[in-house]
Every structure is written in structure tokens, then in C-alpha cells.
């Protein structure tokens, strides 16, 4: 019987499967062509930049390419004592080539990242190297500066030999590889990133919580009020959405500053003394207030779209069966809104964790987030590979949250609208 079904023919005698494929091929091509522009767009604007970021964050080829002969000759060197003559000779040849191409400045910057003190001794070497005689480069170079006779500095050069490095990621976690190649934390007073990561998570978490607490009743009202009122309320929810983010943040600055509207009001009703106005901006408070307000619609809308589908007769049924209003809400209504809660919280949390403009403007020193640090490295220090590394760590964090969410709630149990 089963072999029979494999050979079903159409009326014209063509096997059914072949005929079906032929009929569907055209549709498949059409469908692909329709999504092709989007696919291309995603590839160019999303996949490719992320790939580039990943490469950039681990890329350490610059020094590798600048000192090819040196690293080759260093392969046999065990790193315990001053390297042998051939290493010095190779280094001299590499360095002279860089000087000719005027790329020695870059080398000194790069090596200085690895170990402080390279800048001055490379400059000195450059000056003295013009008068070097052929042969016995070890003696000549070591006589330029006493640091060239220090094995530590040669080890530092050797550490730059691999083309790829995890140093940027370690730096993002306030850690580094010490001379022995062990991963250790930096001294406590120089740790800045860990604080920022924790603060970012903390602010994202509490902003999500605040948004949820405020959005739930609003969404419920929206879903249950008569059309006449719910439309008006919907406009109130969406109005901030239609206003520029910058304008909204700026208006929070006007409201929250020490001589601002909110403080004036507090003084007026006698809540605070005029000479003791609380600082509500350029700290965490400002970030919390402004971010919660700005991200609120992202929580309201998924909640609303889910609540809209819950029939009011379910609540009535719950009550008629003897459930108090609270029990009915908790056992019947709330579980049905979980897909909306999940969607809203995930959306707000992910947006909050990478938020940039608002904390940059109202956050001050204690209210900035990791994204501000990334922007700082993009714009001020120009350490793009470090910025890329932190960006990817953020992305990994978001994916991890997504994974946890999927494990806990299930990703199909999500409803964005």
C-alpha cells in the first residue's frame, strides 16, 4: 500500500510530487524575490557590521604584521632570559623598515598599551639606530637604554605575537593577563567597568519593574474602558511616542533640574526648603525617571494587545463561580496576561540595557550606563576594538537573557501585538 502511494500520478501521468514541486517552484521564487531586498538589507546593515565588530574586538594583527621577523625569531626563545642575537637583529630590521615607512609611531603606541615605558625607549632607539654598525645588534640596542636590557620588555613584545587577543574582553571585565599569562583583576580603585555593568543591569531591571507596575493598570483601563475614553487614553499613551526622544529628555531636564518645575513645586508646597533643593538630575534618579517615562509605551502596548483579547465574561464567570475579585484576577486574568507581560518586560529590559541618549543627558556621573562608556571609546579614545568588544558583551548579555526567558516562560508564549 505504501509503495502504491509513492507513485500517485496526475491525470496527465506525471508523478504527483514532481508536478507539485513544479507548481510550487514559481511561488517559492516569487516569495524569495519579495524578501530578497530585506534579506540583503539585513545582511548589509546587521549581519556584516556585527561580524566586523566581532573581528575588530579580537583583532590584534597590527603588531603581528609590523614585526614579522622578530616574532618568527622569538618562536625559539623561551622568555626566561634576554633573547639571543638573532632576535635583536630581526627586531632591528623590522624597526628600520617601520621607520622608513613612518609607521614606528603606531608601534610605540601599541606596545605602550601592553607595557608602559615603550614610547620613550623606542623614540631613543629611532634616533640612535641611524648610527648603528652592522653586526652585534644585541649590544648596540641594549646600550641605547637600560630598559632594552630588561627581559620584561622583550616578554611584553612577545605577548603581542598572536594575531588574535581576548585582552579587550578582559579589559571590559576589569581583568587582564599578567606577565605569567594568568587572568587577574585590576586593582580595586581602577575597576570602572564592573560597576557600570552592574549599574546597567540594576537600572534596566528597576526601569522594567517600574514600567510594569505603571503600565499594567493603564493597559487594563485601555482594554476595558468604552471606546470613547479608551481612544483618548490611547492617544495620551502614544503622544510621547510621537515626540522626539531628544525633546522628551530635554523636557525632563527642565522639569528635574534644581531650579526646575518639580523642585519649585516641592518648595511651594513646603516639602523641601528653598536652600535645600534635592538633586533629581545628573544622578540615578534622573535616569530612572526619564527612562521609565520614555520606555512606558513599550510595556503598555504589548500588555494592551493581550488584554484586549481576554473576554470580560471570563472575569464574570470567575466571580459567578465564587471567586472573590482578587482571586479571580490572580487565577484567571493574570495568567492570561503573561504573554503580554513577557513581551513587554523583554522589550523594555533589552531597550533599557542598551539605552544611551537619556542617561547621557540626565544621568551625570552616577547615572551613566555601559552604552555611554562604549560611546566614549568610540568617540574620544578611538579604541574601536574595545568599544566593539563591549558592544558584543552587551549583545551576548541580551541573548543570554532571551535564552533564560525562553527556558522560564517559553518564547512562543510571547505576544507583541
Amino acid at each position: 500500500m505504501s509503495s502504491e502511494t509513492g507513485k500517485i500520478l496526475t491525470t496527465d501521468g506525471i508523478p504527483l510530487e514532481v508536478s507539485l514541486k513544479k507548481a510550487e517552484r514559481k511561488n517559492k521564487i516569487k516569495a524569495f524575490l519579495l524578501v530578497a531586498p530585506l534579506l540583503l538589507f539585513l545582511l548589509i546593515t546587521y549581519i556584516f557590521p556585527i561580524g566586523d565588530m566581532l573581528m575588530r574586538s579580537v583583532d590584534d594583527k597590527m603588531v603581528t604584521e609590523m614585526l614579522p621577523k622578530t616574532f618568527k625569531s622569538m618562536e625559539k626563545w623561551d622568555g626566561n632570559e634576554i633573547p639571543p642575537e638573532e632576535v635583536f637583529e630581526a627586531f632591528y630590521i623590522d624597526f628600520q623598515k617601520l621607520v622608513e615607512e613612518k609607521r614606528d609611531g603606531k608601534l610605540s603606541t601599541q606596545l605602550n598599551y601592553t607595557k608602559n615605558g615603550f614610547k620613550s625607549i623606542l623614540k631613543k632607539l629611532r634616533r640612535k639606530a641611524k648610527n648603528f654598525e652592522e653586526g652585534n645588534y644585541k649590544e648596540q640596542i641594549m646600550s641605547v637604554h637600560k630598559r632594552w636590557a630588561d627581559v620584561e620588555y622583550w616578554r611584553a613584545i612577545k605577548r603581542r605575537a598572536p594575531a588574535f587577543t581576548s585582552a579587550k574582553y578582559l579589559k571590559g571585565m576589569d581583568m587582564y593577563k599578567n606577565e605569567e599569562g594568568e587572568i587577574v583583576s585590576v586593582e580595586e580603585d581602577r575597576r570602572i567597568h564592573r560597576v557600570l555593568w552592574l549599574r546597567t543591569l540594576e537600572i534596566a531591571f528597576f526601569v522594567t519593574l517600574l514600567c510594569f507596575l505603571m503600565a499594567y493598570p493603564i493597559a487594563h483601563l485601555l482594554a476595558t474602558l468604552p471606546m470613547k475614553y479608551s481612544n483618548l487614553l490611547m492617544i495620551c499613551v502614544l503622544l510621547p511616542f510621537w515626540t522626539s526622544l531628544l525633546v522628551r529628555t530635554a523636557s525632563w531636564m527642565i522639569l528635574l533640574q534644581q531650579q526646575g518645575v518639580v523642585n519649585d513645586f516641592f518648595v511651594m508646597i513646603g516639602l523641601v526648603a528653598d536652600d535645600n533643593r534635592p538633586e533629581m538630575m545628573y544622578n540615578k534618579t534622573g535616569t530612572y525617571v526619564a527612562m521609565t517615562q520614555i520606555l512606558l509605551p513599550f510595556m503598555v502596548l504589548p500588555l494592551y494587545s493581550v488584554m484586549k483579547t481576554i473576554s470580560p465574561s471570563l472575569m464574570r464567570a470567575g466571580k459567578s463561580l465564587g471567586g472573590t475579585p482578587f482571586i479571580t484576577f490572580w487565577k484567571v486574568y493574570f495568567p492570561l496576561t503573561i504573554p503580554g507581560i513577557g513581551a513587554g518586560c523583554l522589550l523594555v529590559f533589552i531597550l533599557a540595557i542598551g539605552y544611551y541618549i537619556t542617561p547621557a543627558l540626565v544621568g551625570g556621573a552616577s547615572g551613566t550606563l555601559i552604552s555611554n562608556q562604549i560611546a566614549f571609546h568610540m568617540k574620544s579614545t578611538l579604541d574601536w576594538s574595545f568599544a566593539s568588544a563591549m558592544g558584543l558583551m552587551l549583545l551576548a548579555g541580551v541573548l543570554a537573557i532571551y535564552w533564560v526567558y525562553n527556558k522560564l516562560v517559553g518564547i512562543d508564549n510571547i505576544k507583541l501585538g
Binding site: S320, L321, G323, T328
Partner: protein, 362 residues
Amino acid sequence: MSKNQEFVKFDKVDKSYDGKVLVVKDLNLDIAEGEFITMLGPSGSGKTTCLMMLAGFETPTNGEIFLDKNPISNIPPHKRGIGMVFQNYALFPHMTVYENLAFPLKVRKINKDDIDKKVDKALSMVSLSGFENRMPGQLSGGQQQRVAVARALVFDPQVVLMDEPLGALDKNLRESMQYEIKHIHESIGVTVVYVTHDQSEALTMSNRIAVFNDGKVQQLSSPDKLYEEPVNSFVAEFIGENNTFAGEVTNFQKDQCKVKLSNGSEIIANPISVSSNGDKTTVSLRPERALINTKNKMDNNFKGKIEEVIYHGDHTRVRIDLLGNKEFILKVPNSSANMDIKMGNEINVSWNSHDARALDPK
């Protein structure tokens, strides 16, 4: 054991939503314990509002509702102990059938073993044993309906309300469910208040029917009385089929009157809601009460012309132009005696004056 005749009592209940229009006007209704009463009426007639007031989801604007002699207007719905079956079933979609049925028992803090027993019993009552772990979404419409009925009964409520529970089912299923609900009612003797706009459903299931129109109960009586003896022309029109003649009373006596029709002819009718000569009236006559070419002696005999013949299998419906009424319908059983029914033929139509009820003019 005498049953309480006023188990549920609506006492002078008014209801208005907007302060301008009364949806329910001066409703007085007594429902006996164990009775199956149906509120029947067109949409917007106030029947569902009455049900919602009884369930506690709406409060009466005026008057009081009594349940077993206790006023219940100030009791919230969850303390009334009234089961309800909703139009769209309102099963909790995130709970299994078992959890749905256990919900009213759990909130009453009944212990686990008793819950299991009661759920089992309720499910076997609606012949759904073995469906405990299904989700409502995995059930057919009829099965969902039965779960909803079982859920409304599982906590042994005093009264069960049903708000057009069969509205979403197809015709065959609806009919079998009608019998099923009727049998459940008979076997457990719970008081049922049923709302529907489907008259055949009401006639099949109820002990008594309250016909609603315009916020008022037009007639409250048993199904047969409602059909045979409608008290006004709305009820006569709403329940079953009905032939009408509009006219004026000319010769009024206590148990008989003559009605002069607009084309000048006079018919003899049974005076129900007319009281003197000159009253305007609508005479109502059920199609099956008028006979053609009969040898029985009847006091109304007229000739009519056949306008249309519609074959219905067991009977034929004949539309006749009679006494100026072109919409006069007759139901003729399909037997060999009635073979000459053809379009255009003239036939004799007769009926007893007792069956022609002179009601209020429309």
C-alpha cells in the same frame, strides 16, 4: 415537602443604564424552586439584563430581587452562589477541564478528595468522563458547552442561569443539547433560569416561559398555554406562526364577538382583550386551526384563492388570498384527500370562532 413558589422573586424591578431609557420596566416575576423558566424575547427586550441583575453583574435601578426570601441587591456576585453558563462558554483557556471544574470548589476551600469526587460526578453527568486533562481549546463547541454546564453545576448552586448557551452551536447539536440540559435539570432538580431568543428552544425545554418585549413581561405561562392562548398580539406573533385580521368589534358578547374587517366582511371571534363595540382589534388564528373543504360544522366559512403552494415534505403550506389578507397561511397535511391544491384554485376555509382570538390592535 412543599416547594417554595417564590424561590426567586423580582419585585418591582426597574433598570436603566443611562438615566433616560428604562431597559426593564416594573418587573414582577416569581420563580418556583426547581423550576425551569425561560426568558424569551427579541434582542434588546431586557431579558439578558434581568439575568445579569440576578447574577449580580448589574444592580437594579429600583426594586429588589429576593433569593429564597433574602434580598440580594447588596450581595456581590461571588457570594450569591448562583451558577452561570455564558453565551461563549467563558471556560478558562489556560486551565484544563479538571481545573476549570475544580475552580469553584477550590475557592470554597473544599478538600482535594471531595473536589475529585464532585468533578468526576459532574463530568459523568455531561458524559465527558476522561476529558479531565484536555484544554478547552482542544474540545469541540458542544463539548465546551457541556464543560460549561458541568462547571456551573459542580458546586451545587441553588440557581443556575443560562445566557443563550446554545447560540453558537449548529442546529443538530443544539437540539440534542436542549434535551441533554432538560434531562440534567430533571435529574438534579436545580432551579434554572434560561435566556434565549429561540422560541422552539424555549417551548422544548421550559416549565414556564416569560415572554419579554420592551422591558416588560408580556406573558408568563406554560409553553402550551403560551402557544394556544396568547394574551396579546405580540406574543401571538412572536410564538409560532400566526394569521391576523385587523378590524373593529361590532357585536360584542361575553364569549363571542363579531369583527368587521376593512373589506367589509364580518368574522366571528373569541374576545380576549376587547371589551365593547367599536374597539379596534387584531384577530389571531393559528394556521393549523383553519381547515379546507371540511365537512365539520364550523362557524366561520369563507372562500379564498390559492396564491402559492410550498411543499414541506410532511405537510404543504398554502398561501391564500382570504378576506383581503394575501398572507393567510394554511398548513395542509399531505394526504390523498387534498390533491386539488393548485395555484389559482378557489377553496373553502373554515375555523371555529373559539380559535380566532380577538387581541389588542398592533
